[in-house]
Symmetry: C2
């Protein structure tokens, strides 16, 4: 081993820089760096040597970061300057006065402010590749949901003298049964007439999302509210004709936000018809499939969409056995569309994966697992240890994996086995896992270049854009100040690389994304003024 210090003077041989990476990664990083620094400190070296060493160590850090493998083209290099100039403005303003830094706040406090950010504006137009973590009925905007409530034959079950809407139902006749005490069915039109259209809309806006409630006491409470929105939407969205319309619109909204590929985890509920008849589950998948194909036909630049069957986890092992069978059968019928399996619902109150191992390992190996795991801050709990199970069950990606940094061995395995983490920053905040984006544990994952994609989870419920707010918070709030276009490009490419797109289709998918990417880069350079409107104060 070369000796870097002699008589207290620091030696930096010319070949050193070149060999550094090899030293660090192959010859055992710690050994060589210890050699480099010596056993004590640099107080006897010259300031110039000190600065050289400091630069080298800082460069190492950057070289190991997510995105460091990307080489920018000349155009990208120039566009990067535009992007970084905007990012630095926000960052530096924030250091001077943290009240001006959006990622230091709850998304609900800054939703409107972010819309004025030139950086956000650029990210909105960025071709982001795929949104790999979305959930069936939390994809569309509140505005779209409200539009659905104007449809014919919609009944509403209210309690509290008509003041609280409990359930929706499409039906020719007034539904007879009611699961709520003192619940009364009324036509939606009647409520509108009685309460006034504007009031009803305002009311629904509040009921259809968690906005603006930023101050739950803890994540269990936030989860109760969150699950309540899903329950309220059931009758509205599970009406067979609406289900397809909802999905089509979701693809439309995501596409408009720069997304060319979508993977949706769905409970695959049985849909109902106007006469109350329930359709078999395969029809739910069929509707998804038809709408996806329709959308793809109408938008040739769209790559496609796939489903992950994701029933609720708060069930018995026998139930999971049934789910695994259903998944296997549906996959036979839709082999290139229904491609994976997961269990959803609040991990902390559901059952751990280890309880279902016997059933889970019966899933045919060509159907992938995309497990939620470690979506918790209870270190050492069953939920926390789901990370171990997800990895040794061979999951392809991990939903959230919020607790991963507390498990260095699992983190090393995730990297080695090339398992991607689905990071959903805004979701983590709204569901009260974290508050300030600057403290999100994904910063460590970025530093260690763990495979990562950014998704949104349930943007409908926080009235955020389909994907752009998550990109904004991750890029400005979680990643380091110097994370730039290389970081963004790696994240976008990862979303295709780690998607369920078949290997032989991946090149074509990447090429569809690349066309849009190159155009975006050009647009930044050519239409700078239009791309980056001056920030309104």
């Amino acid at each position: 081993m070369v000796c870097w210090r002699q008589h207290g003077k620091l030696l930096l041989p010319p070949a050193f820089l070149h060999n550094c990476k090899r030293h660090l990664t192959e010859l055992g990083m710690e050994q060589s760096l210890k050699q480099l620094i010596g056993n004590t400190n640099l107080r006897r070296s010259k300031p110039e040597d000190y600065r050289k060493l400091r630069d080298i160590i800082a460069a190492y850090g950057r070289a190991k970061m997510l995105g460091s493998d990307i080489q920018l083209t000349q155009d990208e290099y120039l566009a990067n300057q535009v992007i970084m100039s905007e990012k630095k403005k926000e960052y530096e303003k924030g250091i001077m006065d943290p009240t001006k830094f959006a990622p230091g706040y709850h998304i609900f406090q800054v939703l409107h402010k972010i819309k004025k950010s030139p950086l956000f504006h650029i990210l909105t137009r960025m071709p982001k590749g795929g949104a790999l973590k979305t959930h069936d009925t939390s994809m569309c905007s509140t505005e779209f949901l409200i539009k659905l409530t104007y449809k014919k034959n919609l009944w509403v079950c209210t309690t509290n003298k008509g003041c609280r809407i409990e359930e929706f139902r499409f039906a020719k006749e007034k539904p007879s049964e009611c699961k709520f005490k003192d619940g009364k069915w009324q036509k939606m039109e009647e409520i509108r007439e009685h309460r006034g259209d504007e009031n009803v809309c305002k009311y629904l806006q509040i009921r259809f999302s968690m906005f603006p409630l930023s101050s739950f006491t803890n994540n269990a409470q936030a989860w109760r509210h969150f699950m309540g929105i899903f329950a309220l939407l059931d009758g509205l969205t599970q009406f067979a004709p609406v289900w397809g319309e909802y999905y089509y619109n979701a693809l439309k909204e995501f596409y408009a936000d720069g997304v060319q590929y979508v993977e949706t985890r769905s409970l695959l509920p049985q849909l109902y018809c106007l006469d109350g008849e329930k359709l078999p589950i395969r029809e739910t998948v069929q509707i998804y499939y038809d709408q996806m194909n329709r959308f793809k036909k109408e938008h040739p630049e769209f790559i496609g969409a796939k489903l992950i069957y994701a029933p609720l986890r708060h069930v018995t092992p026998e139930d999971v056995g049934t789910y695994v069978k259903t998944c296997t059968e549906l996959n036979k019928e839709f082999p290139d569309f229904l491609i994976g399996f997961d269990l959803v619902g609040q991990e902390d109150v559901g059952h751990p994966l280890s309880m279902f191992v016997e059933q889970l390992i019966k899933l045919p190996p060509h159907i992938n697992f995309y497990f939620h795991a470690g979506h918790t801050n209870w270190y050492g709990s069953h939920t926390d240890e789901n990370l171990i199970d997800a990895v040794i069950l061979g999951t392809r990606r991990i939903g959230h994996g919020f607790a991963l940094t507390k498990h260095p061995i699992i983190m090393a395995l995730v990297k080695k086995l090339n398992i991607a983490l689905e990071l959903c920053p805004v979701s983590n905040q709204v569901l009260q896992l974290g508050t300030d984006y600057r403290n999100h544990p994904a910063a460590t994952l970025i530093a260690k270049n763990i495979p990562l994609i950014i998704s949104s989870g349930n943007p409908s419920f926080w009235r955020a854009s389909p994907l752009s707010h998550d990109f904004y918070m991750a890029f400005l709030g979680i990643a380091p100040m110097n994370a730039d276009l290389k970081f963004l490009k790696r994240i976008a490419k990862n979303s295709i690389k780690y998607s369920g797109v078949e290997d032989e289709e991946k090149a074509a998918a990447m090429s569809k994304w690349k066309t849009k990417w190159d155009k975006w880069v050009k647009d930044i350079l050519e239409n700078e003024e239009e791309m980056i409107p001056k920030q309104a104060e």
Copy 2:
């Protein structure tokens, strides 16, 4: 390399468990684990094999954790059961209902609740070794500070028609100059007479701490408030006779909380006398030294105390040059007492270490650096990069190092070079770096067995115990559920191992701590009822 899988079946040779640690640490952890798990997943193996592998991986995680090197004695093993039973009760109650879990809240919201916790009660009596991060005028309880205000010759400068106290001063005559607009000097007695003793006490309670203000918008704001308390206390504490009394009382309060050794970072201000005369800085150190020796004499089980000269960082390089000289001179006079150097004040608004390198490297190598570094959530900022400078300047410990997990290379160096982190959980929360203790980045440091000590920083300003609240939050909120007496013992031992106690004195210091530790363990077993009072609801 042994092949762990054959025809889809998992093979676990008998020697495997024995070899695991060697495999993981020496032969490259990732390689062997990848081999172990295979390239895809375990779906074709039997559930029993699955569970074996899972247990092995979980055991690895535990084996690498902070404290795993500790072997418990038979008595400790039994005491551990008592401790863990109390810990698990709080943990499990929390998972069921997070509103009952103290580390999920701001310390100010749960200060009273924690006092009823049997676990806290045990930790209060625990011999914790040393408190290595304390600051000169933020060590004593509010009650003690209020007592000081009853002393003779105390003048108070008020503004806002006497409603706001701006400054204290001990003097024979009414001070003539006043730095506050419309400020008026009055005798403290007069204010008491005029406003009522009880009202004045209530008012001072509020002014002398940050309690109960848990809702600052950001950490810059919290810091302004924080620094304001220091400024207010200057006139009260820098009166020469009070300075010594304050320090003696601090040692007394820490000792009562299970602390046998104290290191204090001090600005070393020039103290003043009743006639306004200012003493030279060496007198400040002399007073410290005399009080420490007096305390040691009166408490033979006390190990001792040392000083780290820590002036404010918001200065010019020339100023730092002067500080370094002062430090060198004072160290000559108090070689076994004033042992180190640091720069303090809010890192984000001060200057980075790199600005002072030329001056800092002039400090004689036998005087250690104990730098604050990375006390920020601005990833990629100068403050964040202070971590690099602190390490290559050869710091012995790092104050806070909150951002360390974002710098994997520095983290590896810190471990290799045996630099200890000073973790101050409550301080991080009150100064708004984090909210929920369960998300504190130190969880990763614990998992990776980075050298760690727990200290309190400025407990006076949050009305917490000298050290016990920090131990409680770290043990219950940051460390994993299964962190037990081994963890606590390692942390206590670390506080002597990484202290500034001379190597040849360390065995004696450790022995003083050990005597108390063994007694505490016995007390847990023998006086269980007294040690662990039933929790009042």
